[in-house]
Subunit: 213 residues, 3 copies
Amino acid sequence: MLNVLEQAAVTVSAISGVLAAGGKRVDLFGVIVLALVTALGGGTLRDVLLDATPIVWVENPSLVVNASGTAFIVFFITRWCAVPVRFLLIADAFGLALFTIVGAAKALTFKVGPVNAVVFGIITGVAGGMLRDVLLGEIPLVFRKQIYLYATAAFCGATVFVLLMVWRPDHSQENRVIGIGLTLLLRLASLRWKLTLPVYGQQSDHDSDPEPE
Amino acid sequence: MLNVLEQAAVTVSAISGVLAAGGKRVDLFGVIVLALVTALGGGTLRDVLLDATPIVWVENPSLVVNASGTAFIVFFITRWCAVPVRFLLIADAFGLALFTIVGAAKALTFKVGPVNAVVFGIITGVAGGMLRDVLLGEIPLVFRKQIYLYATAAFCGATVFVLLMVWRPDHSQENRVIGIGLTLLLRLASLRWKLTLPVYGQQSDHDSDPEPE
Amino acid sequence: MLNVLEQAAVTVSAISGVLAAGGKRVDLFGVIVLALVTALGGGTLRDVLLDATPIVWVENPSLVVNASGTAFIVFFITRWCAVPVRFLLIADAFGLALFTIVGAAKALTFKVGPVNAVVFGIITGVAGGMLRDVLLGEIPLVFRKQIYLYATAAFCGATVFVLLMVWRPDHSQENRVIGIGLTLLLRLASLRWKLTLPVYGQQSDHDSDPEPE
């Protein structure tokens, strides 16, 4: 079950990697790399930092096939029809929630302590998208007000999950569901009500920010 | 023999790292880092992802001396004479072919399976140049139409090599030569006939793309 | 004692990470990531490349709390009062010196040989700031003439330290103090007298370079 969800999350993240290439004159290879980095970058960084061997996609190459196959198909499909962005945002919220809690749970099995487990959860959830943006020469979208609460949703979900695991480690399954649910809810709520974090160097909430989507 | 070829490939890649700094107001230290990253970045990333310890240049520090010494010399030489770009492109094609097949072969010794071995071959061949471009604030050249078939050459060469290793693992030496030769041929052919991959979001092959070299 | 100094160096580096976000429209999460990457990026990269497990901040999560707490406080403080940049530059020089020598010393315990130990010292000292700049979409400041001798100070300090460790390995404590002192002195001298490395492709020292601080 978790495996099916993980494959779905990888597919959604891969699509977001492809769409980020829009207007950048990137060729098919570039699009496939962007998809792979977006979908597997967070888990890869987590495993390298934890020294978890083999890393996630070396252990399970079907993730590589999934992400690059998705990229290949979407590359050609987007020539003929538009991608439903609204649907993608919701699917991506689900991917964020799943990756974050799975990442925090994996870190806990390496006995890294609660603070680090939260950090590893956030890394797993957001680092892939950050790497994608760096490859495109842009400041990571997750640092921007325009993405609304994204890393913050991951932070809250991971924190609650890790605290639950400390307090009642024998309800692992239930704790996971709560963590994923909370992250997902916060992310969807922030999209619905345009919740944001304050921006560095700006004091007012009423600043006349242009807000490109 | 392989060792001599590897040192030559490192030298050529280091030169390409130095030349990429043109017009960027990068100082001597920056040029040396760019050379090191270009020449050793792919092998380093491969070894970190494979958890191969020690990584390639820790095991063989002469590669560090080679790349940084090359950068130091080229830094000053380019003030007095031009670098023969055409020669460099051909030498670099050879480096791509060698790095790719050596990388795929190393991954196979870690029992990662054929799909991952191809991925590791491509990483070894192209990641160094990608890191160089990221450090220079640019979208990796290997994602661009203007580089012609580069990663694609590595992909084809690595795939044929890995399939040969699956089918006749006892002809390792011969398989390597075929893989390197195929990658090299494809790369040189793509330079000669300007073969490219399609670009994301562009439907026509006749688009009026400006093609800066 | 060394631990207190290390925490101080992390705090200073975290502040430099926050300040780099100026004018970039980065939100609170982005500022915290920039602080963490600047303060812990060099040590993290060193440990990943050395395959030192657990990496520095997994072993000592108080470094994560320190850097992110610093970022949180500075994020809000800078709305009300200016940061004393001159003081920061000097504090940062101390951080560079400490990180570089601690990094080279750690590498030596992994038996990497003298050339690599110097490389690992420089990586520990400067890679965090490089990663910060890459996340902000800029060419690393440490590649620029305007930063004066920075990596070069680390290189000289690390080289002298490593040579001392080869010649008299039983005076480890004293060798460290000399290495740190030399790096610090060189860095401060280069700030005072605006010492720089030559820039790629520029032959004259009298070129009319605009020198933004």
